[in-house]
Symmetry: C2
Subunit: 495 residues, 2 copies
């Protein structure tokens, strides 16, 4: 064994040491980005801020996000990240993109909104021109207008509605959510609760517009939305199909970009639950192929959603997922995979299978460092990992975000993008909170302005946009970036 | 960007998939070990046990060890791991190797044992033929014999002494130790508390013998002990130097191997605190070189101990640590390095610096996956990482051990050994608890009997033993292993 014999008799050469330190620094995400003078000034400012942040007794990335949120909001790094043009958000779900308070204060105040209370202390909503049929395991329907008129304290009522629409709590999160099973169960209950609100056609349009607004205000210029494309209903109970829903996304996106010409746009990744049976999955893949053909501009591809640990593995659906290739039809996949800590199980093969199905990106990829073959394929093919730190923390895969496996991926320069998954559900919004966790927590003192620049450009380079669209989006981003840098560098010069 | 263009039009080939799964499986620690028929039967037994363990609502590796310990004790996997010949324990500290209850029930019951209570609610001990001089910030000395005679309930007294000698608590560990600072502070208080007991010459010898016994009973056949070689005192207050202490380790080790011929032996890694000044470090390195020359059989090398985050980085001592090489003297290093989550700080360079000083192994290496250059050097040079899962959890680097960074190292087949660091301080003993966490937690369902076999043989291959000694130790281990396999395979056949 060589290690026994290796020369103990050499002394480290400081220049070699420095070279190795530099080599390692250059490997990380953004390690080879060359910074302008103005960028270097902003970088120095960020480094100072980070050094102070690391010294805090309550280091936010080491804490649960629900406890850390106020600290993060008061962090000067966070303020900078909010202003920073972050490029695109490539992993966000349809019904958790906008502030749940908007749903309470806007959607539930619209006429014809009924609410009922379930046996399990959740709520359900429906808009209807007449009294809706009662739901099983639910109280009779109450017209919210009447309920509010009867209630002395509408603030309390609104607060209690809000609590049903988000996982966020100001109680001790570890106490409220003692296990992954519990937090996933509440997560699903929240979705059922907001379902009747967001699938009502007028709210559906406005909710999406509101979601785009929140990302836009957070200096995100492009979105790829995982969307279930569910039946959307009208006040008279009539419903629309998935093509209508996709078309509506396209229309609202166009309206939004007309209103905000410096917003690049949005595309949709059609998703279906990973608990459906094989024939439903086959139908969904066929729908996806049709939508991809009929709406090539807005439709980006296909994905499966829901908790991996309790869902079917990708391989279970291999025949359905092979249909596009067999028919010679282009249907890009953007699979969630490796959002698990169950090493060595069937579900844990999703990472490799996603890659074998030529996935264009990997959603989460939390388990990727434990799969060296999959990791190698992902790197060599440039299949980026969509890292969602706050999601992984709230859904209890990791508590101290310095231990997030993507910290090692970033240190190695593995292709990654940062996203926020279900920001509204987690008490976050836009992308900046997740950028904060990635930059301060995963990156530690090593990551710098070059890392941030790389993460922003990655979000365009690894998007579903065609090369010419990417160039256009990058040019738009660059103008925003240059403005951000010159303004920040200017402010940094003030005493 | 290639990923946009890669062929979406291919369907996974099940044989290629199987080949990639096998390739990944073969990369992990022990992935290339070929199992005999009997070993395969034991492996199947282990796999069944593990599948049942993973289904438990309270999955022990996901819990704090203090809460998990009882569950682990009742686990059939743990029983098997206890019986399994584990080879050597290469990372264990001198004064945390034996059950603290032994100290209470044996050491403190010896005559002339005085105890005092510190202002910070800890205790101190000294053996003395006459009343010792009072300590600052401490109550007057009490002869324990008298204290026990006056006390109605000696069990309570003994329990309260015990609580001062270990971090283990049956209260909520997260409540008792809210931060790394707190747990490290109590950790150091415990060492001060037991210091006066274990540095008393008669107790020193017996404590070490007791420690060897506990490892031996846990089916560990070899030990490399990090030892401070402190002044050891006699009842009259006279003291011995480090050469005497090292010689005593040698004598007691010989006595132990005489009493237990199937125990291979022990070697000492001389350690000093990483908070001393440069001249003290220089002196320690000179002492180490002398001891290495005078006691080549027992002396294995040199290391620095204490919390890395608050101590000096290795590079601070670069001149002292260069002395052996400059003088052409062989002094192997076994540096603790990367026991930190402070990415990008000065201390975070310890991993690279340890390797530049040709360290023979890396203690902990918790931060290694975030240092791709250091990781690559470690792998290529065969510098094994001493993984101590329970230590990292109790000292709050990681809570769910499935997220321990060595899980990825094991998946890649990085050279690793499993050790227990300070088992007595953590409420553990021997090696089996850490083997359990590594096998069930870090390894998940992927690791198997081959992994265990590899970990056991690694502990000999990466030891400080010379090649011919390694062959002898391996032969001894192999006999124990064959016996373990045939007995377990035989028992497994019972209905
Ligand atoms: Zn998602
Ligand atoms: Zn140690």
């Amino acid at each position: 064994v060589m290690h026994y014999l290796t020369g103990v008799l050499s002394v480290p050469d400081p220049r070699q040491r420095e070279a190795l330190i530099q080599q390692e620094a250059s490997m990380q995400t953004g390690g080879q980005v060359v910074l302008s003078d103005a960028e270097q000034r902003v970088d120095a400012l960020l480094f100072n801020m980070k050094q102070r942040e690391v010294l805090r007794a309550d280091f936010p990335p080491a804490m649960h996000f629900f406890k850390a949120r106020d600290l993060i909001r008061s962090s000067p790094i966070f303020s900078l990240l909010q202003k920073m043009p972050k490029g695109g958000a490539l992993h966000v779900h349809d019904f958790s993109m906008a502030d749940p308070l908007w749903l309470v204060k806007n959607a539930t105040y619209r006429p014809h909104c009924y609410m009922c209370f379930t046996d399990s202390h959740s709520v359900r909503f429906i808009f209807s021109s007449q009294l809706p049929k009662p739901l099983p395991r639910c109280s009779p329907w109450n017209l919210l207008e009447n309920l509010r008129a009867k209630t002395s304290n509408t603030t309390d009522l609104d607060d209690s509605i809000l609590r049903n629409l988000t996982l966020f709590t100001d109680q001790d999160p570890e106490g409220v959510y003692p296990s992954q099973d519990v937090v996933w169960n509440v997560f699903e209950q929240c979705f059922y609760a907001l379902w009747g609100l967001v699938t009502y056609a007028p709210v559906f349009r406005d909710y999406y517009y509101q979601g785009l607004t929140e990302f836009y205000l957070d200096n995100v210029m492009y979105l790829e939305l995982r969307a279930l494309l569910p039946q959307i209903y009208e006040l008279d109970g009539s419903t629309h199909d998935s093509a209508w829903t996709l078309k509506t996304y396209q229309d609202v996106t166009r309206r939004f970009t007309d209103d905000h010409p410096d917003f690049y746009g949005a595309r949709i990744i059609y998703t279906i639950s990973r608990s459906v049976n094989v024939s439903t999955m086959t139908g969904a893949v066929e729908t996806a192929m049709k939508l991809q053909k009929d709406f090539p501009d807005i439709m980006a591809g296909f994905d499966l959603v829901g908790r991996e640990d309790t869902g079917r593995p990708l391989w279970f659906y291999r025949e359905a997922l092979s249909l596009p290739a067999e028919r010679g039809v282009m249907l890009p996949f953007y699979f969630h995979a490796g959002e698990t800590d169950l090493e060595g199980t069937e579900v844990d093969q999703n990472l490799l299978d996603a890659l074998l199905f030529n996935t264009s990106r990997i959603g989460h990829g939390f388990a990727l460092p434990r799969h060296p073959v999959a990791k190698d394929i992902s790197r060599k093919r440039g299949v980026a990992v969509e890292v969602c730190p706050i999601s992984n923390q709230v859904l209890m895969l990791v508590n101290d975000l310095r231990n997030h496996p993507a910290a090692a991926l970033m240190a190695e320069g593995h292709p990654v993008v940062i996203s926020s998954d279900d920001p509204a559900m987690f008490g976050a919004s836009g992308l900046s909170y997740d950028f904060y966790e990635a930059f301060v927590g995963l990156g530690g003192l090593s990551s710098h302005l070059g890392s941030l620049k790389q993460l922003a450009t990655n979000s365009i380079r690894y998007s579903s946009l065609a090369p010419n669209q990417q160039e256009k989006a990058l040019a738009l981003w660059q103008r925003k970036w240059d403005k951000f840098i010159s303004e920040t560098a200017f402010e940094a010069r003030r005493p």
